[in-house]
């Protein structure tokens, strides 16, 4: 393989038949077995480049989008000064945070205080790697896909807990405890939502879950059960992202900054970055599990319509669908007031969890009786 073959990597795969997923890691493994060390290294570097550019690019775009959308929801203009319509605002923010003094409280546990942002970013980077963005743009595709995602989410909980505890500040402690309780509780419901889709798809691997939706997305094919699972998963992932109405761990009107009160400069920026990029990861998961990932929108056997839809590259489908869910999450923020901790726990343990179990039961019945599309 020479450099010309490399350029023909089908990044925007348009043919409707060529939907087999080839991950970048898989390409690297192929190159290694073909005894081509340069090519292996090239693909490994590509893995890193994709992840880093997704992390940095999404961070910038989402922070700008959040501020702009927040502004327009409140009849303001949002950032306008830096660049055309404030488009360079995110760069200015990063530069500012880079030049800020890195304050560490005298009584904090210095090592853990330093370590917490590492854990948060680690969870985000590892989560980003598994997102299938198109048949040819997926960094890794482990066969335990959704279990991997659940495990990675656990790392993020640790980041918030350690950050709050190590700061030796009462606000931080309260924020960290709330974060711990909230994140572990809602992880259960998120898992129950995922389980329904695993039941239908019969696989844990994200690429196979997408392949199983070639005939129609699970939100449609699994009808009632799928829709209930979708709402459970959406609510649970909003809670896991610490976003309003579930932003108790940082609730700025009661806990100043919650678990990151004592963080400043870049260390704070890392918590912020991981929160924003996690928003993308969660939206991408919703899209992958319920809305067919990068699969185009098809209507039954209406061939003319379907072939027009196939002309749009999978990557664009994926980007559009996830952009919608990211917008939905931002919309939530300006629609719902923050909950209290007792309401939050009641919602999870007394409402979502029983409904989640009932839904699993129903889903297995639906599959047994083949009562789905």
């Amino acid at each position: 393989m020479n450099i010309l073959d490399l350029l023909s990597i089908p990044i925007l795969n348009i043919s409707s038949s060529g939907w087999e997923t080839i991950t970048i890691a898989q390409r690297a493994a192929d190159a290694l077995s073909g005894n081509s060390i340069e090519l292996t290294i090239f693909f490994l570097i590509l893995c890193i480049l994709i992840t880093v550019s997704m992390l940095a690019g999404l961070g910038m775009v989402l922070i700008y989008a959040e501020r702009k959308i927040a502004g327009h929801f409140q009849c303001r203009l949002g950032p306008m000064r830096v660049g055309w319509h404030g488009t360079l605002q995110a760069f200015a923010d990063v530069l500012k945070l880079l030049l800020k003094e890195d304050l560490v409280p005298a009584r904090a546990d210095k090592l853990l205080h330093l370590g917490a942002p590492f854990l948060s970013i680690l969870a985000t980077v590892l989560g980003l790697a598994i997102i299938p963005m198109s048949p040819s743009i997926q960094v890794i595709d482990v066969n335990i896909g959704v279990v991997y995602v659940t495990a990675i989410t656990g790392l993020g909980v640790l980041g918030a807990l350690i950050a709050g505890w190590s700061s030796n500040n009462k606000w931080s402690l309260l924020g960290a405890m709330r974060a711990g309780a909230q994140l572990i509780s809602y992880e259960l419901s998120a898992t129950l939502g995922i389980l329904v889709i695993v039941l239908f798809a019969g696989s844990l691997q994200l690429s196979e879950i997408i392949q199983s939706q070639a005939e129609g997305w699970w939100i449609w094919r699994a009808h009632i059960v799928g829709i209930i699972a979708f709402f459970i998963f959406l609510i649970a992932s909003t809670a896991e992202l610490n976003r309003t109405p579930f932003d108790l761990p940082e609730g700025e009107s009661e806990l100043t900054g919650g678990f990151h009160t004592e963080y400043s400069g870049l260390r704070f920026a890392f918590f912020f970055l991981s929160e924003f990029v996690n928003m993308f990861v969660a939206s991408a998961l919703v899209v992958t599990l319920f809305f067919g990932g990068w699969m185009p929108f098809h209507i039954g056997n209406w061939e003319a319509f379907n072939s027009i839809m196939d002309l749009i590259p999978p990557a664009i489908w994926f980007a559009g669908k996830s952009a919608f869910f990211i917008f939905l999450l931002m919309w939530f923020r300006w629609t719902f007031p923050r909950m209290r901790i007792d309401q939050l726990m009641r919602l999870e343990w007394k409402i979502l969890l029983p409904i989640g179990f009932a839904n699993i039961f129903l889903a297995s019945l639906v599959i047994l009786t083949k009562f789905h599309f």
Binding site: A25, Q26, A28, L44, C47, V52, L55, L98, L99, E101, D102, P105, R107, F118, I121, L122, T124, V125, L126, A129, V139, I140, D141, V142, V146, T150, N168, N169, K170, W171, L173, M177, G180, A181, I184, S185, E187, L188, T191, L195, V198, L199, G202, S203, L204, T261, E262, G265, L266, R267, F270, M345, R346, W349, K350, F361, S364, L365, I367, L368
Partner: protein, 116 residues
């Protein structure tokens, strides 16, 4: 190869954060000391350490969580093979979940799920 890439990205994340913090370390001003390094409590003087006892409710929820999380670990392989095994799998998982839900109902009855 997949897990090697995971390892690679693990290193990448650590390297990314530490290099960014290092750049900030070189560029940012450093002038610690005095009242600036006190914990922030909206202008009040902090009394005592913050590493104190906290609400036992968090602990109880963590305990219940642990049970249901292990249960989820059991249900993942069950969900994967459900179509092949069929009705037997349905009955077995049903019994399994029923036992756990009895536990949840007991905790509910005992008032563990009430936030105080």
């Amino acid at each position: 190869m997949d897990y090697f890439v995971v390892l690679l990205l693990f290193g990448l994340a650590i390297g990314l954060v530490s290099s960014a913090l290092w750049i900030s370390f070189l560029l940012a001003p450093r002038n610690p000391g005095g009242i600036k390094n006190e914990p922030y409590e909206c202008g009040e003087q902090t009394i005592g350490s913050s590493w104190v006892h906290f609400n036992v409710g968090y602990y109880l929820f963590a305990l219940i969580f642990l049970i249901f999380d292990v249960e989820a670990a059991f249900l993942f392989p069950w969900a994967v093979v459900f179509r092949e095994v069929g009705f037997v799998a349905f009955i077995e998982a049903g019994l399994f979940i029923l036992v756990l839900l009895t536990g949840l109902a007991y905790a509910w009855k005992k008032g563990v799920l009430e936030w105080v």
